[in-house]
C-alpha cells in the first residue's frame, strides 16, 4: 500500500459516491460525464478475467458509445422496471503517475423490481484509471469485474 494524500483519496472516493448516486437516481444522461472523451468502460465476468478471456457484456471504447447506451435504454430497450442501489467501498489507490491514478473499489448493486423485493443483483470490483486535475477526478477507464456471473434476466442499467 502506498501512502496517499487524503485530499486525493477524498477526490477518488467522491467520484465513486457521486457515480453510484447518479445511476441510482436514474440520472443516466449525466453518467457519461464521469468519463473523459477517450475512455473505456466495460462490464466483464470475473470468470473471463481470471482466465484471460476478453469478452465483456458491455464494451464501450468511446464516450459516444456511453451516450448511445443511455439513449438506447431510454428509447429502445425493453427491460423490467427496477431501481438499483450501489454500495461502493473506499477506493484503494494503487498507483499515481502525474495526474494519472489507478484505483480499485468493491461494489455491490442491489436491485428492486416491481415485486418489491430487493435482491443482491451484482457484486464485483471496479478497476479504474483516473485523471485528477484541478481538484476533480474523471474516469479514463472503468472495468467492472463482476463476481455474480449469473446475470438475473438481463443487464440494462450500467454498473
Amino acid at each position: 500500500m502506498i501512502s496517499v494524500d487524503p485530499v486525493l483519496q477524498g477526490q477518488v472516493d467522491s467520484l465513486n459516491a457521486a457515480y453510484g448516486l447518479c445511476l441510482d437516481d436514474g440520472r443516466l444522461e449525466e453518467w457519461p460525464a464521469f468519463f473523459v472523451d477517450d475512455c473505456l468502460y466495460q462490464v466483464i465476468a470475473r470468470e473471463n478475467v481470471d482466465n484471460g478471456l476478453p469478452a465483456a457484456v458491455m464494451y464501450c471504447d468511446s464516450k459516444g458509445m456511453l451516450v448511445d447506451r443511455v439513449v438506447a435504454l431510454r428509447r429502445a430497450n425493453v427491460f423490467p422496471e427496477h431501481f438499483s442501489r450501489h454500495l461502493i467501498s473506499r477506493a484503494v489507490i494503487a498507483g499515481i503517475k502525474g495526474e494519472t491514478v489507478t484505483a480499485q473499489a468493491s461494489y455491490a448493486v442491489l436491485q428492486t423490481r416491481n415485486d418489491g423485493e430487493t435482491r443482491i443483483y451484482n457484486a464485483g470490483k471496479y478497476i479504474d484509471m483516473l485523471i485528477v486535475k484541478e481538484g476533480a477526478a474523471k474516469l479514463v477507464s472503468r472495468t467492472c469485474v463482476y463476481d455474480t456471473h449469473r446475470i438475473a434476466t438481463l443487464l440494462a442499467t450500467p454498473i
Binding site: 462490464v43 466483464i44 465476468a45 470468470e47 473471463n48 482466465n51 478471456l53 476478453p54 469478452a55 465483456a56 457484456v57 458491455m58 464494451y59 464501450c60 471504447d61 468511446s62 464516450k63 459516444g64 458509445m65 451516450v67 448511445d68 447506451r69 439513449v71 438506447a72 428509447r75 429502445a76 430497450n77 425493453v78 427491460f79 423490467p80 456471473h149 449469473r150 446475470i151 438475473a152 434476466t153 438481463l154 443487464l155 440494462a156
Partner: protein, 426 residues
C-alpha cells in the same frame, strides 16, 4: 368456443400448446427423460474450450451436471458429475486442467480417469483384514455414468441414448450446411456470459426460433433509424421441424416492405443518432452477405453469427421456471488484435446486455408470469399458416419454426404429454 375446448380437452398441437407445459413439474421431469436423456444429442461445449489433454469444462444436459474432458489420448469424453459411491459432485470447478487426467471425489476419494472409469478406491481391502469391500466388488461396475460423445465442426454433443442416430444424421444435411458456414475455420474462445431467466426453457427455445418478434421487440435498430426495410431473409427447418435456422442478408433484388413500419404500433423509424457507429460496423468475413444467422439446434443450443459476433448459447434447465443461458463467445483462431477488438465492440449488440438482444430475457419472464395458473388454456401459433414447412415466409413474419419446435417436442414427449392433457380435463 366449444364446450370441449373450454374444458381443455383439446390436446396440445404445434399451433397451440397448453400453457401448463411451462409450469408442470411432472412435465419438466418427463422432459428430462424423454427430451434431454431421450433420443437427442445435447450440446456440451466447444472443442476449443478444451484444447489440451486434461482440460475439462463443467456443463449440463438438461438439468444433469456433466463434465466434458479431453483425455490424455486427446479423445473427448463426457460423464455425469455424480460419484458412483454416494452421488457427490466429483468435479467442483467450472473449468480447469487435470494434468494427470484423474478426477478424485473429495468425500471418500474414489478416483476416476478422464473417461469416467473408476480406477481407485481407498481402503478397498479394509485395514489389516478388517472392513473393506467384499470379494465381489468389481470397480468396473462402479464407473461414472458415461455419455456417448460426438462432435461436429468442433461443437461437442453428448447423448444418454443408445438408439439415437449418429450426430451428423441427427443434425441433418441442412443444419450441417449452416454449422459449416459459421464454423468454417478454427476458432478461439473469447469468453462467457451466463444469463439466468425465471422462465421455462421452452419459452427461450421458442424465442430463438421466433423471427416474428425480432423487429417488434428489439427496437434498437429502428430507434436509431437504421432499420433496413428491404433485407433478404431466409429460414430453413430440419425434417423433424425441431432444428431451424434463420438468416438475414443484404437484399438481392427489389423488395418493398414499406407498409411494415405503419402496421407496428411503436415507432419504427426513429430519429435518434448514434454517436459512435463503429458499434454497428459489419465486416463480411464469410463468403456471403449474411449479417445475421441464428440457428437453433434442438434441444439445447443456439449457434449465432450476428454482425461479427460469433457465439453458442447453451440452454440449461435448472427447474420448471429456472433457465440458464450460457453464452460462449468466440472468434476465429487467426483473428488479429484489431479484429478481436472489433468483435468485442460488436458484442455490445448481443448477450444479456445486448442492445438488440437483452429483451429476450424479459420476454421469457413475461410469458412465464402471464401463464401462471393457465393450465387448459392455449397459446396461438398460427402466423404464416398452421403447418410445419421447410421454409420461412419472407421477412420472417412466420411462426413456422416455432411450430416446428413443438412438432418435434410433441413427437418426443408422446404419451407423457397426452397423459398430461387428459389430467387437465379431469
Amino acid at each position: 368456443m366449444s364446450v370441449e375446448n373450454r374444458m381443455g380437452a383439446r390436446p396440445s398441437l404445434p399451433t397451440g400448446v397448453d400453457y401448463g407445459v411451462y409450469h408442470s413439474p411432472k412435465i419438466f421431469a418427463a422432459e428430462q427423460r424423454k427430451v434431454f436423456q431421450g433420443r437427442t444429442w445435447c450440446y456440451l461445449g466447444l472443442e476449443a474450450e478444451i484444447p489440451d489433454p486434461g482440460d475439462f469444462r463443467a456443463t449440463h444436459v438438461g438439468e444433469t451436471p456433466v463434465v466434458l474432458v479431453r483425455g490424455l489420448d486427446w479423445k473427448v469424453n463426457a460423464w455425469v458429475n455424480r460419484c458412483a459411491h454416494k452421488g457427490a459432485t466429483v468435479c467442483r470447478s467450472l473449468r480447469g486442467n487435470q494434468a494427470d487426467g484423474a478426477f478424485v471425489c473429495v468425500y471418500h476419494q474414489w478416483a476416476y480417469d478422464a473417461e469416467g472409469t473408476l480406477v481407485g478406491v481407498p481402503f478397498r481391502r479394509g485395514l489389516k483384514g478388517v472392513g473393506g469391500y467384499g470379494k465381489d466388488f468389481d470397480p468396473a461396475n462402479h464407473s461414472l455414468e458415461k455419455l456417448r460423445v460426438e462432435s461436429y465442426k468442433g461443437m461437442v454433443f453428448g447423448t444418454f441414448s443408445s438408439e439415437v442416430e449418429p450426430l451428423e444424421e441427427f443434425l441433418g444435411p441442412v443444419m450441417r450446411k449452416y454449422v459449416d458456414r459459421v464454423l468454417q475455420r478454427p476458432i478461439k474462445v473469447l469468453g462467457y456470459a451466463r444469463q439466468h431467466m425465471a422462465g421455462n426453457w421452452k419459452l427461450y427455445s421458442e424465442n430463438s426460433r421466433d423471427s416474428y418478434h425480432g423487429a417488434l421487440l428489439h427496437l434498437f435498430y429502428p430507434t436509431f433509424g437504421i432499420y433496413r426495410q428491404s433485407q433478404d431473409s431466409a429460414g430453413e427447418l430440419a425434417e423433424q421441424g425441431f432444428h431451424s435456422v434463420f438468416t438475414v442478408a443484404k437484399p438481392k433484388g427489389d423488395v418493398d416492405y414499406g407498409s411494415f413500419g405503419d402496421e407496428a404500433n411503436r415507432e419504427m423509424q426513429g430519429t435518434a443518432q448514434l454517436q459512435d457507429e463503429s458499434l454497428l460496423q459489419f465486416r463480411p468475413e464469410i463468403d456471403d452477405d449474411i449479417g445475421l444467422h441464428i440457428q437453433s439446434l434442438f434441444p439445447s443450443v443456439v449457434l449465432q453469427q450476428i454482425q461479427n459476433t460469433l457465439a453458442t448459447r447453451q440452454i440449461v434447465t435448472h427447474g420448471v421456471d429456472q433457465t440458464e443461458l450460457v453464452w460462449t463467445y468466440f472468434g476465429y483462431a487467426d483473428d488479429d488484435e484489431e479484429t478481436t477488438r472489433h468483435r468485442l465492440r460488436n458484442l455490445n449488440l448481443v448477450g444479456p446486455s445486448g442492445l438488440i438482444s437483452m429483451e429476450d430475457g424479459e420476454a421469457v419472464e413475461l410469458c412465464q408470469q402471464g401463464t401462471v395458473g393457465a393450465e387448459g388454456k392455449y397459446n396461438f401459433i398460427k402466423m404464416g399458416g398452421d403447418d410445419v414447412r421447410g421454409y420461412y415466409a419472407p421477412m420472417g413474419m412466420d411462426e413456422n419454426a416455432v411450430r416446428g419446435f413443438w412438432k418435434g417436442y410433441l413427437d418426443l414427449m408422446g404419451n407423457a404429454l397426452a397423459t398430461f392433457d387428459k389430467q387437465m380435463v379431469a
